[in-house]
Amino acid sequence: MEDITLKIDGVNVTCPPGTSILDAAKAVGIKIPSLCSHPELTPIGACRLCLVEEASSGRVFASCVTPVAPEMVIVTDSDRVQRHRRNIVRLMMAEHPESCLVCSKGNRCELREIAAELGVGENKLYPMPNVKNFEQVNPFIVRDLAKCVLCGRCIRVDHELVVVGAIDYNLRGFECRPATLHDLPLEDSSCTFCGSCVSVCPTGALSTKTPEFVGTPEKESISICGFCGTGCSLMMGSVGEHVVEVNPSRISGSVNGATLCVRGHYGHDYLHSKVRLGSPLLRTGEEWKEITWDDALELAATKLREIKENYGPASLAFLGSSKCTNEENYLFQKMARVVLGTNNIDSGGYINGRLAVQAVWKRLGNTLFRKPLSTIGEADAILVLGADPTQSTPVAGYYIKRAAKNGLPLIEINPRKTGLSFLSSVRLEIKPNGDLAALAAILKYLVEKGWVDQGFISQSTSGFEPFSAKLLALDFGLLYKNAGIDARGIKQVCDLIKGKRISIVVGSGVLRQRIAVSIMNSIVDLALITGSMGERGGIYILAKDCNEMGAWDMGSAPDFLPGTVPVFDAQGRRRFERLWKAKLSPDPGLDVVRIIEEADKGRLKGLYIMGENPLRSLPDKELIKKGFEKLEFLIVQDILENETTQMAHLILPGAAAAEKEGSFTNMEGKIQSFEPVVAPPSGAMPDWDILDRLMALLGQPRRLGSISRIRREISQVVPGYGSLADGIGGWAGTGEVRGSVGPEAETIRIPFSEEILIGARPEDGSYPMWVVLGTSSFQMGCGTRIAKSRRITEYCPEGFAEVSVQDCDRLGLKHGDKIIIESKAGSVMKSVRVSTDQPEGVIFLPWGFDDNNATLLLGLAQFGGPNFEGWNSCRANIHKA
């Protein structure tokens, strides 16, 4: 349709049909007062402040809900309009309580701002303050609905963006307020405490509970959330060196827009925990002593050098962090590889299924499947496997929920119900670890019916014939049995995805599974068979940590260099040798598990851990302790006192994301840089600075000295990170060779899997139940940081086990009872939550709580190795404590 031209306050404006007058005016810099409208929400015309007048007819209407029409002549500030606006504000003020002065919205209250702009002071109306309950029992949100102006923004955020539906208008007239179901407190509703409604509320009706502080922060700075791999953009308000408030940043094009989750919004108070590290500490026996940075770095350098000289580079190992920045991970692996000559470097992403993710890189090239989350909804259907994104990576989950709410078919393959299930079209309730068999059944069904994308297969893949022959030879009966499903479910799924391109979303329920690599290969096969690659559809991996992807891209892994170039790739290695002027080993180094095993065997002498807490995050703490005790020197660089720092010989206090400059790469492959919001605790130092200084002491010719110099080096050295040099970031892999595989790219053919596994294990009679491990939105990873958030721990102080109604009936359990869960590896005690989300025989246990003792149920074994049982689930037995 043709653009429309109209006149606003004498200015000609041309815009597409359907644009609201409010937006059209904004586009030419004319500001119309507005309260209920919000750029990310459907306009509803509730407040009437945006009234404008049409010159010819004299009609007055709300500009946010009135689309432009040709030849319109609009006046935005006629006397009449102004009078109306002022009256509306006067009425609002008359209904408003008199606690304005101590309101925590302070100067950011939009009602106050508008009143000031319109010159409404004394309203000369009989004040009729609307008295409503003041609700502040939960540690996150204060609801003072007396101050509500019924703009409905909170309701629309909750319905349209967060897709929870915890609140809506209740009652009518003077009584009307946003309310939860049965008007209960938020904690008794479906509210997730994402706080998105708080951030959009124009008045003090909804505000963040900050007991230490009332009023407006002195300074607001933009940062990136340091929790999950979604990489939300934050606006952090600070007073002095204290972060007092977090809101979504208002940067356009951010992954989160106007939303956040409870962690990002309210969990950052861990920054000011009492156990922050503030000085280098040296341990002799049981004694800790504060030492100076000069002494600390000198000591670290000496010890690392000594160990290398005495025992060789293989006796040293480095454990980097998926929570540290790209710049830091780059330096850290360079220190390991170039300065000390070892490939013994890994990062925390190992336990989040690095090898499973690598399996996909091997077949697709490492950037192909990283796509913006906004493209999830562009496919014809969504398939979610082994994930509850509404808990693990909530803002990524909002994308899926929004797409499903708008009618996109959503299929879930999961042993239990998730926060997505109320929107799903089909749910395959598989047995735990039945994913592989379920996928095989889907593939077989599609091939049998001929519901495959022939065009894509013949142009862009290879090996389809033998692959389909193997599929056809499989026995459906066996597949159904291994998956714990029936023919009906598979038919439903296939009927739904027939001829469709699918967005396949994968979470740690798959990535941490015993046979994760095989499942990922089947997922690639499914993407190939349905042509879900390129423009529409694809594979989306939900990264658990803020910089899991970035740490890998920087080469924080024992078997690949930056840019995920394998160490055994002679050509790629030589390139790095040239750039770094050093000799590199072609042999993969030790991964996390091998590091621990080698320490225990006494062959590893020195270990440098940056930003990881293996004693909390990994199973088999006894073995780890034993191994670490045998080390000659253990350096731990971290921000909080934790289980692992206690074992260190030397502690180096680093800085949290909000306290330093750096960049993270999120699950979409978006590189996002940030600047410090506040200073680190006195005595602590940004991690990159520590590494840079230490590397100079270890004989690097010169210090890089600044983040921009490190970035410049990264952008020259790391394939796919060219855009980091400008300091803003961009998309990883722009210009990568294999980045454009699609129906049009004829040269590259992606092979189908050569073998099809359908893996299943015999039942184990002594452990008849399954424990499924997963994430709670009130936890993050192993919980080192979030357990130090006062708000989060106040709300959710201890863990729980969700047990099905049937099992509870059978065992005579009720809500709150204590149970012992026993596996082959160990046992834990948890309190019961009776749940209808899992079938009989399945228990859900969230990570992180109670010192992350869920790991007691698991064994430590190399990922994918013969003894590896998976870190997503285990067999168990339960009884009442």
């Binding site: 319905h159 539906g165 208008y169 009652l171 009518r172 939860t180 179901l181 049965h182």
Partner: protein, 162 residues
């Protein structure tokens, strides 16, 4: 007041029936209201689930319309007019009289679920002021004796007779 037991089966079949309609919420609620005399709060979740709505949304619709109630109402709902015309003609004393006769405050329902007493802004029959309505029947030009005789028709004896 005894808690009303809910006929879940009946509720389920109404939901099932209306689920197929595109704009089924209001007719569904009307049918439930009609059938049960109110909308059982426990019914909100299943209704929302069936129609793909949020429970809070369904509640919002229920509490917006005066015709829907979340609490059980009496068999006979008495709505006394509080409009201007009725006020002038002594509507207030009619209301007071009703309260006394029934032993109910505004918005209350009798123990035996016989009567609910409510007020409305205007019944639209000002020429008959003062007015009231019982279920769907209008009563105008009210006086205390007339109110008593109307109530008697609905099975309420006068206080003194007890």
């Amino acid at each position: 007041m005894g808690k009303k037991t809910i006929d879940w089966e009946r509720l389920g079949s109404i939901i099932e029936e209306r689920k197929k309609e595109k704009w089924g919420l209001i007719p569904l609620l009307q049918e439930v209201q009609e059938e049960f005399g109110y909308i059982p709060p426990e019914g909100i979740k299943p209704i929302a689930e069936a129609l793909g709505l949020y429970p809070s949304q369904v509640q919002g619709v229920i509490t917006f319309y005066a015709g829907f109630a979340l609490e059980p109402k009496g068999k006979y709902v008495i709505r006394v007019c509080r409009g201007t015309a009725c006020h002038v003609k002594g509507g207030r004393s009619i209301f007071r009289y009703l309260k006394r006769e029934l032993g109910l405050e505004e918005g209350q329902t009798s123990e035996d679920y016989r009567f609910t007493l409510e007020t409305v802004a205007c019944l639209g029959a000002c020429f008959l002021a003062p007015t009231m309505m019982i279920n769907r029947t209008y009563y105008g030009k009210l006086s205390p004796p007339k109110v008593s005789s109307v109530l008697a028709q609905y099975g309420k004896e006068r206080m003194e007779d007890k």
